[in-house]
Subunit: 366 residues, 2 copies
């Protein structure tokens, strides 16, 4: 199936199908110019990038391959600089296209290089993790980390096409698959009760990598994100609709920041963050008809079935968490703003939540 | 006076007036947020950046100043990286604005940093050289050099406002002023016979830094470039109207590339390049009514009055020049494409000009 992301002249298709990488769909001309730079990482090269390289070369494309390390620490200006060196060496022209084959780190870095090589060349995303398929394949955010904070350096740069092949998830470590499911569950809570119910019925099939089920949840997730992003492409409106995507991320990012690197995957931090947010919603009474506990339970049950954590990790200090939340670039002013559910399928924005309420939501269940 | 650059949601004003920096005009809100990063270079700081800093601070803006070296060699990813470090140190937010005060090098680098800091912040240009006022203040091209070629790394990023104060030209070395005049003369030849005639009448006043005359020629030049750029903002159409701006640049860039760094200023190379192009036009018969010699003479006379070179420099080797022209990223295919005049105020594109014709045009007058 195909999800169309509508952004005027920057619109593009997301193709989603098992076996897609073995049998490429029809692609826009900008995706397949004579020269392609295929950016990948050491883990993904033997699994998918090599096969794709052969396929592209067989079609007559001249392909330059760039392989980076696999991990957030490689999403740096230094690695981008090495990519520029290799593109310069290959005399890569502004008529070329950069293809990113890998997870979010590869996509973010390759997208930034595409955005800035000769003031911008075409970009194609081939996400190979569930998180990258449902999150970074829509939104146009590209960039690298700065030693002081993640994603400080970057650009909005839309791909000309995205290829999601759920078969890639067969080689994904199970913990990474679960991490991606946290974002999928988020889409259900913020905007799509049907997706949430579909997950309640089909989570086991998804975890067993059923191609149809995965294609459906990837497509629904991309559709939701595409609709939200379409209203505010550059996230220029700080309190705009795009903020709903931050459900679970206010506390989640804080958990990521204060725990030691690698202890929590992004989706794990988000599932804890969504649990905190749902508890906050119940306490503040944002949930309709007093159904806070029911929402809380359904959400928690899904997380548990997906093998995702919902408990505040041992050793997390409230002062550190609060400082991280207040520092988050999406917050201004004294209090902290949260996206909180009103029911499954709808959220609202609550401003200036007090430290006491947040502390209670984080630690009350201990 | 004010020239409006019309680019839909990215439209912006260019304010042009003597004394403008002492008495700032009304500016869009995005130009004057609470936080400003003022990027300048060592030569310009004591002349203009310091005074501007005081003015902005007096208005309550928090200003972070970044000073870079003055010269093409500082337009590098390494210097951009240091700018990111300083912005991170200052906790510069995505609601800030980057102001560039200086020539083209400062503007290109600061613009690139603005384009890529937190995926893009507002950008204000305060060009202090004639070349930057008439060339880089319109077009949205930002970027840094790569050791292998100029401007390989960059982005299109439009300013929210441009401030041109011709009084700044009082401190510009005369050779730099003359270099800027080459681009002004170019605008006359490619699109504006009236501007050309105005220059014939008022060049001496311009060189004596008459504020009215300079404001007029800066405004006309910006207007022409803005009209051309408005039709093809991202230079996506390789044979589009934007190509006319390359009059004199095909051979000019080649002279810049083959001569030792610093031997020819950009405008000097362009005036030689325009002379070559006019000679080529006469030989190929593109000029209407057999008026090739007249156009050639009027153009040469203006260059000479402006103290600009028109002779092919000693030691320039044709094979090197031809290789540089053929390599230019704007050329594809075997021959070299030129923008050639049909009369003063109009040019056309001629494809695949032979090496013999170009050799003749470069060396025939020796």
């Amino acid at each position: 199936m195909t999800v169309s992301v509508s952004l005027g002249p920057r619109s593009y298709p997301i193709h989603i199908r098992s076996g897609l990488l073995h049998n490429l769909p029809e692609l826009p001309a900008a995706a397949l110019p004579g020269e392609i730079a295929l950016v990948s990482n050491a883990s993904v090269v033997p699994l998918y990038a090599d096969a794709l390289l052969q396929k592209l070369e067989a079609r007559g494309q001249v392909v330059t391959t760039l392989s980076m390390g696999d991990g957030e620490e490689f999403k740096s200006l230094e690695i981008a600089s090495r990519a520029y060196d290799e593109l310069a060496e290959a005399r890569f022209s502004r008529r070329g296209a950069v293809w990113a084959v890998g997870g979010g780190v590869t996509g973010d870095l390759a997208g930034f290089v595409a955005a800035t090589w000769m003031r911008g060349v075409s970009f194609v995303q081939v996400p190979t993790t569930l998180l990258a398929m449902v999150d970074s394949s829509v939104g146009g955010k590209t960039g690298v980390n700065h030693p002081r904070a993640k994603n400080l350096i970057g650009a909005f740069w839309q791909p000309v096409a995205v290829l999601c092949d759920p078969d890639c998830l067969r080689t994904l470590p199970p913990r990474e698959l679960r991490s991606g499911l946290a974002e999928v569950i988020k889409y259900g809570v913020i905007a799509d009760a049907e997706l949430f119910e579909f997950l309640e019925r089909n989570l086991d099939a998804a975890m067993k990598l059923d191609g149809e089920v995965l294609s459906h949840i990837i497509a629904r997730s991309c559709r939701i994100k595409a609709d939200v992003v379409g209203e505010d492409e550059r996230e220029s409106d700080a309190i705009g609709r795009r903020a709903i995507l931050n459900y679970g991320h206010t506390a989640g990012h804080a958990f990521e920041a204060v725990m030691q690197y690698g202890q929590l995957l992004h989706g794990e931090a988000i599932s804890i963050g969504m649990t905190v947010a749902a508890r906050l919603a119940t306490a503040l009474g944002t949930i309709e008809n007093g159904a806070g506990n029911e929402l809380m339970e359904r959400q928690t049950r899904l997380f548990e079935r997906a093998g995702l954590p919902t408990q505040t990790p041992e050793g997390a200090d409230f002062e550190d968490l609060w400082a991280a939340m207040a520092l988050d670039k999406k917050n201004r002013g004294a209090g902290v703003n949260f996206i909180l559910p009103t029911r499954i399928g709808e959220v609202m924005r609550v401003e200036n939540v007090s430290a006491d309420s947040v502390r209670e939501a984080i630690f009350s269940h201990r």
